[in-house]
Structure formats: structure tokens, C-alpha cells
Symmetry: C2
Subunit: 263 residues, 2 copies
């Protein structure tokens, strides 16, 4: 399973500082720490980038690439900033991401074709609303798939994020279990080995004791993995969850078991 | 999910001592510790009981019941010792268990009818061999179900143990993943909400670092739970695995999420 660190985001003071002062070193320190903690991919989420978006996104990509060889996932709704960031990438990045919102289909999705790279597609309604059950999610997946076809993007480029909602929502536990069904059914529904990705931090967002949040992450992730999940976007400094992810790999990778693979 | 402690077994020196000296206190101490550690059910496994089996099984049951109100699961292949133990139980016990071995069908299975209690059925070939894949396991499940019918035992009495094999076996990881498929398919195959139980200690039996073994248990258990597992037979002193089991419950129980349920 690929672990995508969600740590390089504007809510981290080091990222905010790097951007406001155009100083690469704070974000470079963070990127190195993410790599050491076991990330396979780094997500870069600079927020809305209302001003100088292109320059700032390219700056972040270049800053991170100077100290780290991991592939990047670029996370912004600003299409021109996204394009500038993709242009600056030395290795194939992931466009993170699009949904059925018309602006995203028109401006973000075509970037996957232009830069020949993978793109995350969120199972959200065109108005941005989170679907309420598995059936809605499966319908949205078919619509995402059709949008890809319309724009001439190969279906293999799509990584579906079925959109995990917090357990604390009224129907959170039910949605968490239904998400497993969605992940399990997508390959048969779409007719090819669809890749999936989940933003795990969403599971426990809101108030709650930190240790219990970590425990919930570490048990829900194996459920996702056994349903067929390919990638997880998570806080890479949750070491226990990283260890759980690697232990899952040792079970699911098939072939002969090896203790070496368990962290 | 119900957690069945597998700690009261003849390989524990306290159980061996209690049996050899017919002294209840060592096994009573152990039973109390198991209850405090979070067990829902206590499995009592006194080994083959080649001599004075009836007396010894009844002694163990009575000793444990004096200090603990938890239901018991009686684990012996000695049918007359099993009957004596079941007779001594104050609360409905579980007969653990039978398989397609002819002696077990003839002597152990009828005890579930006679004592009107649940019985664990192992997915093993009639010669005791472990099945090699999901298809064999599903075939064996149908045969177990038919054996129940033949002996007049209600299908709802059956708790199927699909027989987990160690990861260290040549095809261990593959079998671990196939077991999830078996658990998921049983209710549809047999046509009713079949209960399942897995002996989790088997996953990591053999040599290996203790901490890694615990980690593997704690990630494989959520996979089992999301496949529909109802009960787990495990070392109740693996506190991290117990916490993982309770965290799984908080996600899978549906309804509104509560932090109280996460240990």
C-alpha cells in the first residue's frame, strides 16, 4: 500500500511561514521528516492560493524536490496554480484532485491528460455534497468514469477517493462500513482494477482523545486494506498507524511471509 | 464481538498444577485475571484428559464458576469428559468443538442437542487435515451444516471456526486473505446469519518477535471483523489486541458513535 503524507499543508505553521516568506527551509525540513517517517508520496496542500498561486505552488514543489526524491501529489482547487505545480514536477505527480463539480471537470481534469499523470477523483455530488450511502457513491463513481472518458483521460489514470466521513457524524459508523463495500465493489462495477485512496484523518476529525483517535485509525485502516484499498492519505507522524499499514502489507502482499516487512 | 480467552489451557503451569493437585486456587486466580482483562467467555482446555477425564473436567468447571460468572467454552476431544463438564455448567456453555472426523460427529456433536447449547464446528477434513483454500472450506461448511441436520441440532447452534493457519506456513498470507472471503460468504452459502469464530493465536504461532506478533494480530483482527466475524478466541492478556477488538466494535456496531466504547 502506498502511504501519502498529508502533512505538508497550509495549516502547518512551517508551510505557512515558507509561503509567506518564500523561504524554502521550513517546508524542506518538514518534507525530510515525512520521508524519514515512511511516506511513499508527499501531498502538497497550500490552501486556496488566492494570490500568486502559480508562483507559490511552483515554489513549494521546487523547494520539496531539492531535498526529497519522493513523488508528489498536488492538492489545490486553483487550476492555474495546479498547472504551474505540475509543470515544476521532476517525477510524475498525482493531481489531487477532481470531482463532478463542473469547474473541476472543466479545469482540473484536463490537466491529467496534459501532464500525462494520475488524478484523484472524489465521490462527491456535483454541488460538493457528500453522498449518503453506498449506492450514491457507486453512481458517482460511474459518472466520474464517464467524465474521464469525455475528456479523453485513460481510466487507468483515475484513483478514486470514496470520501470517508467522520465517525462522529450521526451516521458515521454506518458510512464507514459502507465505504468498505464501495471499495470492494468498484473493480467489478467499472470493469477494471480501479485504484482507491482514502483520507484517513477524516475518520476521527472533530473533538476526542488523541490516543483513542489513533487506535480507531489503526483498526479502520486494516478494514480498508482488506477491502482492496491501494493508498492512504494520512498524518505520517502517526507512527502506530504507519506500522499498522506495513503489517497489513505483510499479510496482503501474498507470497511467503517475512518478518522483515513488519515494522 | 465476543472475546473468548484461550488462556485456561493445560500448557499454562497454573492449570497443570490445579489439575495435578486437584487444587482450585491456581486456576481460579487465572480465571479472575481473564475476566478483569476483558474476556466475555472463558475457554477451558485441559488437554487430552487420558485419565479421570470426567472428574477433572467437572473439577475445572466448578473451580472457575466459584469465582467467575462468565459463560464457558469447553475444549476437549474426550467426549465423556466434555459431557461431565457440560453437566457441571451453571450457564449455557459452548461445546468446543466438533469437525467432520467421524468420532467427533458421533460423540461430540450430539452433546449440543443433549445439553441444548452452542457448538463450534471446525472446517477441517474428516481426516483432520487443514483445507488448502476457500473452496474447500466452503464445501466443508456445507458438510458440517448437513451433519448438524442429521443429528437434529438446530443450525443456529453452530459457530463455524474456519481454521486460521500460521502466516509462517508457505501459503499463510494467501490463506489468511481467503479466510476473510470464507467468513464473508458463509451466511449467503448456508442461507442464514451464520456465526463465526477464529482462533487468533494461530496467526503468529511459531518463532518470531513478540512485538511484531502482537502488531499482526491487531491488524488482522479488524480485517476479520469487517468480514463479519462474531467471536475471537485469543490470549486475553494481549491488551493491545483487546483494545483493537473494542475499537472495531465502536465502528461496526452502527448507530451513533461513542468515545466511551473505545478502550
Amino acid at each position: 500500500m502506498r502511504i501519502i503524507a498529508d502533512n505538508i499543508q497550509i495549516t502547518d505553521p512551517r508551510v505557512a511561514k515558507a509561503l509567506s516568506e518564500m523561504d524554502p527551509s521550513p517546508v524542506q525540513d518538514l518534507a525530510k521528516q515525512c520521508e524519514q517517517a515512511g511516506a511513499d508520496i508527499l501531498d502538497i496542500n497550500p490552501g486556496p492560493l488566492t494570490r500568486d498561486g502559480e508562483k507559490k505552488m511552483a515554489f513549494l514543489v521546487e523547494a520539496v524536490q531539492e531535498v526529497c526524491d519522493l513523488p508528489l501529489s498536488l492538492d489545490t482547487s486553483n487550476a492555474s496554480a495546479m498547472a504551474a505545480g505540475l509543470q515544476a514536477c521532476r517525477r510524475k505527480p498525482i493531481v489531487n484532485g477532481f470531482s463532478l463539480e463542473p469547474a473541476k471537470i472543466e479545469k482540473i481534469l484536463p490537466l491529467a491528460l496534459r501532464f500525462d499523470c494520475d488524478i484523484t477523483g472524489f465521490l462527491l455530488h456535483p454541488n460538493g455534497m457528500v453522498p449518503g450511502n453506498a449506492e450514491e457513491r457507486l453512481t458517482l463513481a460511474v459518472q466520474l468514469f464517464e467524465a474521464l472518458n469525455d475528456k479523453g483521460v485513460e481510466p487507468e489514470r483515475l484513483i478514486i477517493d470514496p470520501v470517508l466521513v467522520p465517525l462522529m457524524w450521526e451516521d458515521g459508523p454506518r458510512q464507514a462500513m459502507e465505504l468498505l463495500t464501495v471499495i470492494r465493489m468498484l473493480p467489478e462495477l467499472l470493469g477494471y482494477p480501479t485504484r482507491t485512496l482514502v483520507g484517513l484523518s477524516n475518520l476521527t476529525s472533530g473533538r476526542g482523545p488523541k490516543e483513542k483517535k489513533r487506535l480507531l485509525e489503526a483498526v479502520y485502516l486494516p478494514m480498508l486494506v482488506s477491502a482492496g484499498l491501494d493508498g492512504v492519505l494520512m498524518d505520517i507522524f502517526h507512527q502506530h498507524t504507519v506500522s499498522a499499514a506495513r503489517a497489513c502489507d505483510a499479510i496482503t502482499r501474498q507470497g511467503t511471509f517475512s518478518w522483515e516487512e513488519v515494522a
